[in-house]
Amino acid sequence: MSGTFVGMPAFPEAAREAVRDATLRGNLRHATHTIRAKRAKAVAEVPDWDRLREAGKRIKDHTLLHLDRYLEQLEASVTAAGGTVHWAADAEEANRIVAGLVKATGESEVVKVKSMATQEIGLNEALEAEGIRAYETDLAELIVQLGKDRPSHILVPAIHRNRGEIRDIFRREMGAWGRPAPDGLTDTPAELAEAARLHLREKFLRAKVGISGANFMVAETGTLVVVESEGNGRMCLTLPETLISVVGIEKIVPTWRDLEVFLQTLPRSSTAERMNPYTSMWTGTTDGDGPRAFHLVLLDNGRTDTLADEVGRQALRCIRCSACLNVCPVYERAGGHAYGSVYPGPIGAILSPQLRGTGSEIDASLPYASSLCGACYEVCPVAIDIPEVLVHLRERVVEGGQVTSRGDKVVLKPAKGHAAERAAMRAARWAFSHPGALRTGQRLASRTRRLHPRTLPGPGRAWSGTRDLPEVPAEPFRDWWRRTDGGKDGVK
């Protein structure tokens, strides 16, 4: 994954800063609450939402369980339609393929459609190292690129920026990348969008190479689909002579007809629209219309490892709508950067530790970045049970066990730093398996209750730093029950 995320601190530390950043909290709260209400309204318009959701889930599950067959079918369809298919087992291989394809055109700049897959593999940095400049053309990606920032949301990578900050970035940075921001640029969204239009137009018009991802790939027809709003996608997909699409292998659907499900659920879940402004579909190349050369790079990069996990593989159903981010109370307060990945929020918390493994501090902490409130599962248009996978990954962290890493089965050791917790859990399990021991502990707590401090030392400060402790009662319920014969003798 992108080098910008290496060495991220664990989630709780990264989140601490965000929680204290009042501007960030305000920006995130405003944006996520705006979209939450809109999404609910857009979904309520469709009476068969649950059935569409179930169909989407089943289409994706079926595809994943026959992925080898559909990959081969897709390859044949794309090739028959005039495209060239490349396979990349990891980020490095994908970057090498793309850089080679760009160099073969003789060009030293490319225009890019917003794509999670190319973010994930750090393509822009890899191209830069080869002397190729990649221009992001999605408005939010442009804001991130100009601001030398990192994306913090799947759909709206600059969600952590408000309009005033965006205006400042445009005024300050646009000139170094091309056409400067118009004089007197204000912070109205319409003016900011106009500034982006002017800045990027010259790049679109001269571009010879476009790079994209895809939302869907249809195995039976070889059709790729890009869902977007601004028209930057259409520009990159139709004006250049060469188009290179880097797409995760899980983006396949078997048939043309399957799009009827996702083209209903994706726009309503992501931008809360009945339909997004532009959807482009192309099948190989078309004489006289659009790029003359089309390359599809099929990316694994941890997806087959994820597929090998019976519980975790459901994360591969994800269609990157970002509805789970928008409803997540943890995301709203911690912000996207705390997740240390291009995939933030609840889906990121289950995707990153599977794609990258749980070896790093940040990845081992992500499964805990949730109160398990279940709001993400409820809105997911492909019914990914995110809480189930989070708990499953917590188990992987604390217990270790067999996992697949780069295609090989390996046995993970339990993560360090959980020894005290593990001992406490075992002790609690022992006490709870012996009701007598539990009762003894409860009585001890009750008898010493006057001595209990109001705040706790050490790890207990995590609680008592912000919350008062409950008072321990004079007697536990079970003693009262025994003493009063279940309350029958009327004693209180």
Partner: protein
Amino acid sequence: MRVALFLTCVNDTLYPDTGRAVVKLLTRLGVEVDFPMAQTCCGQAHYNTGYRHEAEPLARHFSDVFGEYDAIVTPSGSCGAMVRELYPRMGERARAEGRGDTLAATLAPVVPRTYELTEFLVDVLEVTDVGAYYPHRVTYHPTCHGLRSLRLGERPLRLLRAVEGLELAELPGADECCGFGGTFALKNADVSAAMGADKVRNAESTGAEVLCAADNSCLMHIGGTMARLRTGMRPVHIAEILASTKEDPAV
């Protein structure tokens, strides 16, 4: 019908008033309730923190203790959801690990017989007016497991609306998590506290004296935050409101 009270380890140890309230309420409604002394913990904290294998003996113990009862009533949405939603999953996982159907078969009997208190009242006893009296302005927080796992829906609100003297105030952002989340409250204390503070601010904005919920774990977090922020609001378990009468009012 043999009815058992599954009070939960947290309530048994820290919130005996809630247990007494459930007993009082059910007795008033003509239900004889038993408290099996061998009960301990459903294993939720273990399971949700990643210690599924440590949770298994606790689940088996739960099944041993409660297997003979026709109905198992608990005043905790999250522990109810543990039994109803996650015990079957534990059985499935054991099967997938090549350990056969034993665990699933052991746990199966208690799953459909476990009811969260408000479910038991509305669905099994078919009452919504439990004859309670509680002259206070109250706002209700639907806890996440009650809302999204057990789908309690309107049940708690129907019960509260029927309480004499109770003025129900709608809680803004009611369906947002309070930030407790079990070990989340410790592992991600900053985010948890921020969520708790927002919940408390929303509760305060209703002008209610009392925030009630059907789960003392969440109330421990919300109440601890209220006390620290010196709001003057109190957290009260819904059982204590429903148990309160003119003759024997809750304090």
